[in-house]
Symmetry: none
Subunit: 372 residues, 2 copies
């Protein structure tokens, strides 16, 4: 009989096995039970023949090799049912039973935002990813992505060392590096953030691994933000998985002439939240946006306000004064100002669009507090 | 007693009067009845004192002057209840009782799309408006707008002579020209399309006229397309009116860094349809998009690039890529490319001469769409 650790390692090497296929209630007894179950029962639960074979006759040499990988400082195994196992994944339909981790496993418990996008983004898209990731991290949101070229890399790089840091989920074994261009980035994340994989050491990157990797990225996270994406791209798969997992989907719009905006535009049409600023995401997730860092991260807000809020002319001031500290009907305002009704109505519409006043049921208007 | 025509002209000069304030069922008898109603009854219906005075004691000299305006060939009065009165306006809450028209009044009966947007659009926004308007017009959709600078003008200009043509709705009397820069455009629309106003001859443009003008633009149209708009801009008023009138609202997304996309993004968040192509609008309005003309209307890069653009060497491609789909300063381009500032400046000059980019106020450069 294998000890628990070896039993988990054997489970991790059963291809296609996930929490949805086992009795998830009995986590403590799970590894031993699973290895002892009759093949027929495993088959009836939907396990593939290769998975059953891996459970019935574990490759002991591979397990010893996995143990050697685990003995390296900073390497950890996080198993289904353990305290460190992330709650976000528990809630998904086909959660991995084992996560190979390198780095700060405490990050798994942090609130996370997935950031994904094109491998060949525009310069502006790349800059946006980095800037947004930095902003999220500064507000305590850990940025989770897939270590791919382009938006993934820019997002990982934008999340500074503290406090949010960054998690990279891999589509291959934790001992592999892919893409080669990100070897240094992977080392950096291992040292200051966290690398996560459900694939055992020695597993090479394979196309079919990446959609599985994507469900972990979205499943770990409160929401998924797509920065730039073509139609029919992997980022849209991650976004769809996030929606299926009941998480928020966010997308950044762009020029109708940019093929890398098409995927985001499709997501927005399908119900994703349109995002203009990093604070849009924070407020949707009900994460407080500290005013000072927010202003630093979004320098254009102030200029923009200068542009959009024209100084109101005297007539508008008279109309606003006519409210006093009350709400008022058009008739009341007409009586108080002496302006014509249609003039008042037009002015109210403009003030409403300028968020200076607000319409209430019954044709009553009231002033809004400044600063809203 | 005034004859019917003079009675309608008197009604048109009663400020703030609209179909919602009169008994709209009795169109044929309306003009005479309205002039004969007791002042108390008119007041109880909500007519302002100035409107009642104008109905009880019409300024006969003004009516004769209006008749002289009407005697000019091409000038027409379209009154509430007449066959020519547009059905789209009948369905609105506060329709004008009288429309002063110059040009082809038959256009009032055509399916129309309102196109509105910023008075100071980006080059790309202006080009998009013209290209989309041309496409709509080719598919038999009349483009209706407000003759303002920027997107309005570009939309009017994009709609060719036939078959869709264009309607400009004015915020002043039909004998006025505003803005002065559009005098030639107004003459052209009068000759080949249609100018429409609810304001009598001699009425100058006033700020409070434009929201009223906007309700006619949206009310005439199946839907309103906002091409580029700042937050708190008049285009958003038109879009809001369209939604209140039960019409479709369409908006074109853009860069999150462009203040002129903010208004469109807000509309999309509030439920406007996100539009990437002119065909998106046609299909939403269930207007067949003939494939061949559609392709012709969207010549895209290929032919145009062959004709206008010399083959660029790799450094130029890098510099153009550094724009993304944004405008950028020399400093930004230097930072993104790593080229020296004087090299970037020389390259920009060459690209500008080749009409690949364009300089905007403030030392900002932006790419031009191929083929324009």
């Amino acid at each position: 009989m294998l000890d628990d650790l070896r039993a988990w390692l054997a489970i991790a090497r059963a291809p296609g096995l996930h929490a949805g296929l086992v009795d998830a209630g009995s986590a403590a007894a799970l590894p031993q039970c699973l290895l002892e179950r009759p093949a027929a029962e495993l088959q009836s639960r939907g396990l593939a023949a290769a998975a059953i074979a891996a459970l019935r006759s574990p490759d002991l040499a591979l397990l010893e090799s996995d143990l050697r990988w685990l003995s390296v400082p900073g390497h950890r195994l996080v198993t289904w049912g353990a305290d460190l196992y992330p709650a976000g994944l528990v809630a998904t339909a086909d959660a991995p039973l084992v996560l190979y981790c390198i780095g700060d496993v405490a990050l798994l418990a942090r609130p996370q935002l997935a950031m994904v996008g094109a491998r060949n983004p525009t310069t502006v898209g790349r800059e946006t990813a980095t800037r947004f990731a930095e902003h999220f991290s500064r507000h305590g949101l850990t940025v989770t992505s897939g270590l791919a070229l382009g938006i993934d890399g820019a997002s990982h790089r934008g999340a500074p060392r503290a406090p949010g840091s960054t998690i990279a989920v891999l589509g291959h074994g934790p001992d592999q590096v892919y893409p080669a261009e990100h070897a240094a980035l992977a080392r950096e994340i291992a040292a200051t953030g966290l690398l996560v994989s459900e694939f055992p050491p020695g597993t090479p990157p394979r196309p079919q691994h990446f959609p599985r990797r994507n469900r972990i990225i979205s499943g770990l996270s409160l929401g998924t933000l797509v920065v730039e994406a073509a139609l029919h791209s992997g980022s849209l798969i991650t976004a769809r998985l996030a929606a299926e997992q009941g998480r928020e989907v966010f997308a950044i719009p762009g020029s109708i002439h940019s093929p890398l905006s098409r995927g985001c535009h499709r997501l927005i049409r399908d119900g994703a939240k349109l995002v203009e600023t990093a604070d849009d995401v924070l407020s949707e997730l009900a994460i407080p946006a500290a005013p000072a860092p927010a202003a630093a991260a979004e320098p254009e807000a102030t200029d923009a306000q200068r542009d959009f809020c024209p100084r109101l002319d005297k007539d508008y001031e008279i109309l606003l004064d006519a409210f006093g500290f009350e709400s008022a009907s058009v008739d009341t305002l007409v009586a108080r100002t002496g302006f014509k009704a249609d003039v008042v109505a037009s002015m109210l519409l403009i003030l409403e669009l300028g968020e200076r006043i607000e319409q209430q049921p019954g044709g009553i208007f009231c002033r809004r507090l400044a600063g809203k």
